[in-house]
Structure formats: structure tokens, C-alpha cells
């Protein structure tokens, strides 16, 4: 990288890293250190071809998502993320407290999904991307995105029975997810 490239790389990192780190930490199920590692690796990869990248942010994000999915394939010990135990409901059942409690339960459940499941949920519900965009970013089919979303939400319900009272998401209402072998494997 020449001096000009270095300067624009530094500018990019200084201005965009905080936003990118938010996504990275979510992809890692709330694990701050894992999120920093993930972002660092994506930026290292981007630095290697900095002057050939047209849209740095899109590039780094794509590397983040894909790297996270492939990291899940690494036999790294899965770090359990400690989340404070939700406070016991005191019976009064005030709404704000109950909502906070549910979000804590959800946080814990999200951290226990596989990285691929979590990545799909982050892309769908945090980045608000349509299924087709998620499929393009992850290099899989729309059917895979749909079935992974379906399975991820089902898994969340399994991990946290407290979610039973919640209504179904649109993604859960499909008759049956696409389980054709090619879809499941891609």
C-alpha cells in the first residue's frame, strides 16, 4: 500500500470502525473480543487489496458476514457469552420490566445459535436486508436464507421457552422450509 492508500485506509477505519464493530459484535453473539477479532481480520483482508476495492464499506461488510459464517466452521472452542441472569419477575409484571427481561432472554438465546443462524438473523433483522440480498452476500440461495431463518427462529423458541407467548414471525409462517440437500448444504 502506498502512502496515499495508507492515509485513506486510516481515514476509513477511523470513520467507519465503530459502526462496523456494532455489526461484528452482534455477529459474534455479543462477544466483544470476538467481534473485535472479526473486524480486525476483515480490515486486514481489505488492507491487502485496498487500492483495488471500489466500495470499502460494502467489501468489509461482506468479508465480515462471510468470515463469520466460515469461522463457525473452525473448531475454535465456542466461547460462551456470559449474560446477566434475567431478574426474577416480581409478580407485579410491570410491562417495561417484562420487556427488558425478554430482551435479556433473547440475547442469551441469540448467543447460543450457530454463527450461520445468527448471521442470517442479523442481516435480516438488524441490517433489514431482503432475503435476496442476504443470499447474495452469503453466497447461497434465497431458499437457504429462508430455511435458515425459519430454523433459527425455531431454535430461539427452543432455547428460550419464555418466547412461547410471542406471535409468529412472517418467516415462521412458511408451510415447510426448503430442506432439499443442495439447499441445506449450500
Amino acid at each position: 500500500m502506498n502512502a496515499e492508500g495508507l492515509e485513506s485506509f486510516r481515514d476509513f477505519v477511523d470513520s467507519r470502525s465503530s459502526a462496523l464493530l456494532k455489526t461484528a459484535v452482534l455477529l459474534c453473539g455479543g462477544d466483544q473480543h470476538a467481534g473485535e477479532d472479526l473486524l480486525q481480520n476483515a480490515l486486514i483482508k481489505a488492507a491487502g487489496r485496498w487500492q483495488r476495492i471500489d466500495e470499502p464499506e460494502a467489501y468489509v461488510r461482506r468479508v465480515l458476514y462471510r468470515q463469520q459464517v466460515s469461522r463457525w466452521r473452525l473448531k475454535w472452542p465456542r466461547r460462551e457469552v456470559s449474560v446477566a441472569e434475567p431478574p426474577e419477575a416480581d409478580g407485579a409484571g410491570a410491562d417495561p420490566a417484562a420487556a427488558t427481561e425478554l430482551r435479556l432472554v433473547m440475547r442469551q438465546a441469540l448467543s447460543r445459535l450457530t454463527a450461520r443462524q445468527r448471521t442470517v438473523l442479523v442481516l435480516r433483522y438488524f441490517e433489514d436486508l431482503p432475503e435476496a440480498d442476504v443470499a447474495r452476500l452469503l453466497g447461497c440461495s434465497v431458499g437457504t436464507v429462508r430455511s435458515t431463518t425459519h430454523r433459527s427462529l425455531a431454535r430461539l423458541r427452543q432455547l428460550a421457552p419464555e418466547l412461547a407467548a410471542l406471535g409468529s414471525a412472517e418467516a415462521e409462517r412458511f408451510g415447510s422450509p426448503n430442506y432439499s440437500p443442495a439447499e441445506v448444504r449450500s
Binding site: 477505519v13 488492507a47 473448531k75 438473523l121
Partner: protein
Amino acid sequence: MNVDDLVRDTLREQAAEQAPVATGFADRVLAVRRRRRTRRLAAAAVATAAAVAVAVAVPLLDSGKEDVRPSGGIVVEKKDTKAHPDQSPPREEISVGGTTLAGYYLPETVETSSDTAVYQRTYHLLDPKTGKYAKAADWSWVAVAPGMKTAAVLERDLPVSRIGLLDLTTGKVERWIQVEHDVAGLSFSRDGRKLVATTYTKNPDLRVRTEGSDDWGQEWTSSRTGFYVLDVASGKGDWAEVKLSSDPDDPMGGSFLNSRQDFALTDDGRHVWEGSPTEPGYAFHDLRGNKVPAPKGDKYLSWFVDAGKSPSGKLVAGDFAGKKWTTSSYVVDALTGAKTEVRGQQLLAWVGNSKLIAWDIDKEGKNEFHQRLVLVTVGSEKTVPLSGFRVGNDGDAGRWEPLFAQP
């Protein structure tokens, strides 16, 4: 409220709590990048390492005088050193103290369709009669035995069902070893008597297009099946299956490996080992392919550092250090793990027990990819240039990758 609303709220709340990135993050990234350069996942470093058990007397190089050399047309040929600081890639023999640049290859990613390609190597091997490097285009893989008399070769279109034993003095294949399981990687034992062949069902050098980019990446699945340990003299040997571990939680059903992750014998010939992109960075097997704990003297091996263990087995060439000098590497005590820093960006081959051939950048150090072969000495600041500088950036076509043979 629906479950997706809760997912959305939870993720947003979690994101909002996130503290901003600390200042200096860009510099941290750049520093780590420099350190990790040698660890590129795709580097098939282990398989190219060839060493010999006999400790050689270290020739005393008259260092100092040669430190600064004009870059044009100078051939340094004295005692045990043949250097060509003006040649890149080298045309004439480079060797120090018996450690010889047996050849080099030029890598190229050749497109086979709009979204697939093959990473191919074009070898140039030293012809001992002329002392020059000549193209050897027939081979997709070459491993040179210690002593520089024989090389084991694989033909194009990996994996292949026979291994050639090439006589380097004639350039002809003397013998073919037929194998039942197809092979795509080779590595000689330290004494040159055994050959480890890694078996795959698909070409491990296939590349696929990364979505929406012009980059090629390796495939996410491994087709590796195991290894042969072959006796070079008789061509006989057993195949050992090494199953890929699979993760029951993983609907894609795979464990993570580089698509090419070759096996090699440990220096004592008692184990077969492989590098790994995941901690602790390697795995050891007995000769039948059963996993074993890391042997005592081998636990500091870094598979991505080509030089490996010193001939005496006391030191292990380690990772990039970069503390004492802009570019330097660690040399690690094989038993205690104690580290010493030595000059050199990337350690490639031992020359006796206290010197190494390494890649290093020039003194100004502006471009980390502008490297040449140098001789470095443990406990000394001096470096002796052996080749000209490589041009281009990492991954560019035409950057030569060296192949060393021990005496």
C-alpha cells in the same frame, strides 16, 4: 409482539450499548497484518520444507564486507556462498553453506470458468550441470530431496495417481510410483529416504470467485483423505486414512481445513503432522493416521514458517517478530519455547544451526512486499543479500516462491 420484533429490538439495544472503537485501531490492524503475512491460510509451507539429519559445519561467512552491494551485475561467489543480488527471479544458482535454492515456482491463478479457477505453479529447477534455473513445466508439484539429486514430482491436473522420481542431473523421471489413492502434495523426510504423499479426491488448488468481487478464494470444503508414507528406494508404503472431523451442530457438515493442507513427517520420522488454521495451529498423527499429542520437541513448530527445525533439532524457526527491527522473526528453543529475535521477515531455510535464509525488505522498508533473499545469523545484526528484490504485491502473478534443499 412477534418473535422477529423481539429479535430486532434486542439486536438494536445490544448494538446501541457498544462502545466506539478505541483510537489507533487502524495502526493496530496494520501492525497485525504485517505480523500475520506469513500465515496466509493458503500457504502450503510445510510441504516444501526439506531438511537433513546431519548437522553441517557452519561456514564462516566473511560478513560485513558484503553488506552493501551495488545492485547491478554482481556475482558473489566465495567459499560456500553463491549469491546473485541482481537477479529476481534468479537465473543462476543461489546457495549458502550447502543449503541450495533448488528452484522456485511462479504461481498463477488460471480461470477455468467465470466462477472457478486453479492456482497453478510453474516450476523452474536448478540444473546442476549448468548451474542455471530452467523451466520444468510438466510438473504441478515438486519436492526436492536433501542432497539435490532427486526430486519427487506430480504431473498436471491434480490429484494424480502416480509420483515421479526425477533425476535432477538428467531432468528425466527415473521411476514412477503408482498409488491407489490420488495424490496432490509431497514432502520428503529429513533424511530423504521417505516420502509423504497427501491424498485428496479433488484438486486442493481449486479457487472459487468471492461473490461480487474479483477475488479468488479457496473452497470451503476439504477433499483430503489421508497420506502415504512411502519408502523412496522401494516405492512401497501404506496409506493411512485421516478422516475429517465433523461438527454435529453444523448443517454444512464440515470441519475447517484449508483446501490444501498437506502432511509431512516430523524430523525424527516418528510422526506425521499437519498445520491447521485453528489453535494450536497443528495436529500430529502416528504413521497409521491416529491422532497423537504434540511430541515434546515439536510443539513450537509453526507450519507456515518454511524453515522448520534447525538441523540439530534445538531451534525452531518461528513467526514474524518485528520488535527489535522493523522486520525480524523469532527463533524458538524447541524444548523451552524461549524466543530470540533474528533479522528477516520470513524464515525460509536453515543454513547449519545458526544461520537462516529469509525474505527481507530493504533498509528503507517502505514496501513490505519488496523482498529479497538474505542470509541472517542468530545473534547478529548483519544480513547478506542473496537475490534481487521481488516485484509486485502479495498474490500478484509472477512473484517467485523459493524451494530449498538441504545438503
